[in-house]
């Protein structure tokens, strides 16, 4: 095309060069630079300027020397692994029941099953204290009626419980996808060849869904490893890597030591992510397509009852936290009973006066970061896919780098980069916005790339052959076609940013508190009513944004979470 007409050079390349340049500048300043700083700093003692002789392994040596560090690492791995295994135990049967048993209300089950992913998990964590804490409703109930002393919710059990119930939908949704989309003739042919149901399950069904389910487990593992809110609320003295980072930075003001811990957790996430890519690569299994019959549905009365009961019980338990928050938010007084004694809107009135600032901040920051991430992410996706050619992987890799950084590590990196040096942003809203954009741009980039790869380049070429300039083609053809994908990505970004705590907790300042920080502070101060009222408002905002994304894409809520 280019060789055919010299004018293409004039139309295309200045734009590509400018976008390339801007992209490179932004990525270098706000991504490569802070990450390099955190990597370098973690090899430097506190308050020491950079020098080759100053390099030290002392921060990493603590993982050998300090039992606090050793334990935190061990705890992180324990709770994350346990949560992954339990998420499998909880999610896989549910996936099977919804995909393969004739039960009513499947769409509703899928939507409700996604809900735990929508609501920030640290909100739910607190309601488990209300239920199972030292003076929790269920704890008292068990003591009074059965004389049974429930084990303490603090530490590993509570964290594992909150992670499992908060993240099992990943296994459920991915497993459901694999089970419902697998070619039914694979199982039918096994039947014809004389295999019984048990043999088919063991040799055909399970091996086919293993990659998807394993991917779900890895996502649970990574999310658990990177979560700050849940262990902060439920951990107590039980430190994990994220809470240890927080402790180092906020307690000891030792950014370098915090960075070293963050790097250790990045290493584990990186390995998980690598495994995840290997798995999803292998998933491109079936090559031949044919009109197939929908997956066979089990019709037996027994299995249908079992499936329905199981799904209802799991959903009920998983949604208890949301219910508790809602109930608490309207409770004026709550005695020792199972239900509040006096209801009112007092909590809401209180937060509207006391937490008005954080609410505004959250909306402002999420809005600014979403728009910026959407514009930059879309432009970079366009460059990466249509213009970058062989350099594409560099762009791809750089932008998706934050994927392997747990939220708190992004916070540490941004703080390392911009609390000193050539650009000082700490204490301003900018530092939060930058961190948000960096963290969420990969998602927009991904959904915009996906939207763009589905657009036939011939449409753009057709526009060009009709005499449209590059600008006209991109504004009239390319971007409108990408828009639904980008907008849906933006809605999800917006809602996840509203509920963001892991990065914010490192970067916020007195003037720039967010709604999540406000909730966290209420929780720490034991002010459950206002915390729940804010939590309910947050949930409503997040859900609205999610449903909007849902509408834009015309897909189920569940499919929005297929991040891989």
């Amino acid at each position: 095309m280019r060789s055919a007409s010299g004018r293409w050079w004039w139309r295309l390349d200045p734009v590509a060069t400018v976008v390339h340049g801007v992209a490179a500048l932004i990525l270098l300043t706000f991504l490569v630079y802070p990450i390099s700083r955190i990597v370098l700093n973690s090899f430097l003692p506190l308050d020491t300027p950079f020098g080759l002789g100053a390099l030290t392994l002392e921060h990493f040596a603590r993982f050998v020397a300090s039992s606090l560090h050793r334990k935190a690492l061990l705890h992180s791995l324990t709770v994350s692994l346990a949560a992954s295994v339990l998420a499998l135990a909880l999610g896989l049967p549910m996936a099977f029941f919804v995909a393969r048993v004739r039960i009513p209300g499947k769409t509703l089950i899928l939507s409700l099953g996604t809900l735990p992913l929508v609501v920030p998990p640290f909100l739910g964590a607190y309601s488990w204290i209300l239920l199972l804490g030292r003076n929790g409703i269920l704890t008292s109930l068990f003591k009074a009626t059965l004389g049974v002393e429930l084990p303490s919710i603090y530490g590993a059990p509570g964290i594992i419980l909150a992670f499992t119930l908060g993240y099992f939908p990943y296994v459920f949704l991915l497993g459901y996808g694999a089970l419902s989309s697998a070619d039914p003739s694979l199982e039918e042919s096994a039947q014809i060849m004389g295999a019984g149901r048990f043999r088919i399950t063991r040799t055909v069904t399970l091996p086919l869904v293993t990659p998807a389910v394993a991917a779900g487990m890895l996502i649970v593992f990574m999310q658990s490893l990177g979560s700050f809110g849940v262990p902060a609320v439920l951990g107590g003295e039980y430190y994990v890597l994220t809470t240890l980072i927080y402790f180092q930075i906020v307690g000891h003001f030792d950014l370098n030591a915090g960075g070293a811990i963050a790097l250790v957790s990045v290493a584990f996430t990186a390995v998980s992510l690598f495994l995840l890519y290997r798995l999803t690569e292998r998933r491109g299994y079936v090559t031949v397509t044919a009109r197939t019959y929908a997956a066979r549905q089990l019709e037996g009365r027994g299995i249908r009852c079992l499936a329905m009961t199981y799904c209802l019980v799991v959903l009920l338990v998983a949604l208890i936290p949301q219910g508790m928050i809602l109930l608490t938010s309207f409770a004026e007084r709550w005695g020792r009973g199972a239900l509040p004694t006096v209801y009112s809107l007092g909590n809401y009135r209180r937060v509207f006066t006391a937490a008005w600032g954080p609410m505004q901040n959250s909306l402002f920051l999420a809005m600014v970061a979403t728009v910026t991430a959407a514009v930059l992410g879309t432009l970079m996706a366009y460059v990466a896919i249509r213009k970058a050619g062989r350099g594409r992987w560099i762009l791809d890799l750089t932008i998706t780098l934050p994927f392997i950084f747990p939220g708190i590590a992004v916070g540490v990196a941004i703080l390392s980069g911009f609390s000193s040096g050539f650009l000082i942003l700490s204490g301003t809203w900018m530092i939060l916005a930058v961190a948000y954009v960096i963290r969420r741009m990969p998602y927009i980039f991904r959904s915009a790339s996906a939207a763009l790869t589905q657009i036939d380049p011939a449409m753009e070429e057709a526009s060009a052959t009709c005499g449209a300039s590059w600008l006209r083609t991109s504004t009239r053809i390319t971007f409108p076609l990408m828009l639904p994908g980008v907008l849906a990505g933006a809605c999800i970004t917006f809602s996840t940013l509203l509920g963001e705590l892991s990065t914010t907790i490192i970067l916020y300042s007195a003037r720039w508190k967010t709604i999540t920080v406000a909730i966290y502070e209420y929780l720490i101060a034991d002010l459950l009513g206002p915390a729940s009222a804010l939590g309910t408002l947050l949930t409503v905002a997040v859900l609205t944004s999610m449903l909007l994304a849902n509408r834009l894409l015309g897909r189920t809520l569940g499919s929005l979470f297929r991040m891989v």
Binding site: I192, A195, P207, T292
Partner: protein, 372 residues
């Protein structure tokens, strides 16, 4: 030869209440032992559902299936001892070719040595020996097809079912593979039911075939009989190129019917639909294959002569297709072996058709595509 598979008044309905749809209305068939029997029809005619009913993958709403004296109707699929090749081949992506082929033998719990021997025999049969360790994704479409066949035959099933096995191959390979399937089927000597919507495939591969339409069997016979004497205008049109001429019935004469064409010519023509009782004045549709149409100054003894204008002609490799305008609603097609000397578009040409090559049908019948 004894009937091996006997299907009686088979019916299958899907859905419930007002959304009930009959995929198979009432199908009765007899398939002989060792025969390759094809179910042919346009999409949605119920051929695949019939095959799945024979396989036991669907339960019939009514009717019976008996195979070699054994009632199949409510037997689960894994007890029927069948082999089946699916349209998608359904090869297991997570298993090697050896394990794919061995699957049915393992389900039968044969000793390891026996499994090894029989898998290698089956791979030899489909000429893919030595590829044991490969995965299905590493094979070409044709090779996948052979593995699916080997996997279906390895445990010595009594009946082989093939569901559109060639639809995922390109045109050239399709022709080659259908010869291969025929060869392998003959070598194994196994009774086979073959489902396809491709009439050329059905005609070339089958011992006998059943043409299905809207959940019913419309005609059963050898490929030659069905092609030459289709039971309806629909079958005639579906099985290949067809010319249809309008005429009026004068009288039925035994198995023949005397008709008058629009040109005024009167001829006696075999009835295509044996159930038809023609009455005077009734419209009749006459059918002839393009390759039976002659052009030129004189046709054969007693041939029907129609004056027409040459509208255009096309080379199709082996044949030349002439499109002629005889004043009727449709043009007449004539497929000739060679170029007619002096053929020129717009010239008058005499068309000759032997009455024995024509078939007459009630005028109310239309090709399937046009009735929808």
């Amino acid at each position: 030869m004894p009937a091996s598979l006997i299907i009686e008044e088979l019916c299958k309905e899907f859905g419930a209440g007002a959304e009930r749809v009959a995929a198979v209305r009432s199908v009765s068939l007899e398939v002989q032992a060792g025969e390759l029997f094809t179910l042919l029809g346009p999409s949605g005619c119920g051929k695949t559902t019939t095959l799945r009913l024979i396989a036991g993958l669907e339960t019939p709403t009514a009717g019976t299936i008996v195979f070699d004296g054994q009632d199949f109707t409510s037997l689960p699929p894994f007890r029927r001892n069948l082999g089946m090749v699916f349209q998608s081949y359904a090869l297991y992506p997570h298993m090697s070719l050896f394990e794919n082929v061995a699957y049915g033998l393992r389900a039968r719990r044969l000793p390891e040595g026996e499994i090894r021997r029989r898998v290698h025999e089956a791979l030899d049969l489909v000429e893919l020996a030595g590829l044991d360790a490969r995965r299905p994704a590493q094979l070409s479409g044709g090779q996948q097809q052979r593995i699916a066949l080997a996997r279906a035959l390895v445990y010595g099933p009594r009946l082989l079912l093939l569901d559109e096995p060639l639809s995922n191959l390109d045109a050239k390979l399709r022709v080659f593979m259908r010869e291969e399937i025929r060869k392998i089927q003959q070598r194994a000597g196994i009774t086979t039911i073959y489902v396809t919507h491709d009439q050329e495939e059905a005609l070339s591969i089958s011992d006998r075939l059943a043409v299905m339409y809207q959940g019913e069997v419309v005609q059963v016979g050898t490929p030659g009989a069905v092609y030459e004497s289709p039971a309806s205008v629909g079958v005639a049109d579906f099985l290949g190129r067809a010319n249809f001429l309008d005429s009026k019935v004068i009288a039925g004469v035994g198995g023949l019917v005397r008709v008058r064409l629009s040109s005024g010519a009167v001829v006696e023509i075999p009835r295509g639909d044996p159930t038809w009782e023609p009455a005077w004045g009734e419209a009749a549709t006459l059918f002839v294959r393009p390759e039976r149409v002659q052009l030129g100054p004189d046709g054969g003894e007693g041939s029907l002569r129609i004056e027409a204008t040459l509208a255009r002609f096309t080379f199709l490799g082996g044949i030349v297709r002439y499109v002629l305008d005889a004043g009727g609603t449709r043009p007449i097609l004539a497929d000739l072996q060679r170029l007619l000397s002096g053929a020129e578009v717009g010239k008058r040409v005499a068309v000759h058709i032997l009455p024995a090559d024509l078939r007459a049908y009630p005028g109310s019948q239309r090709p399937w595509g046009e009735t929808q």
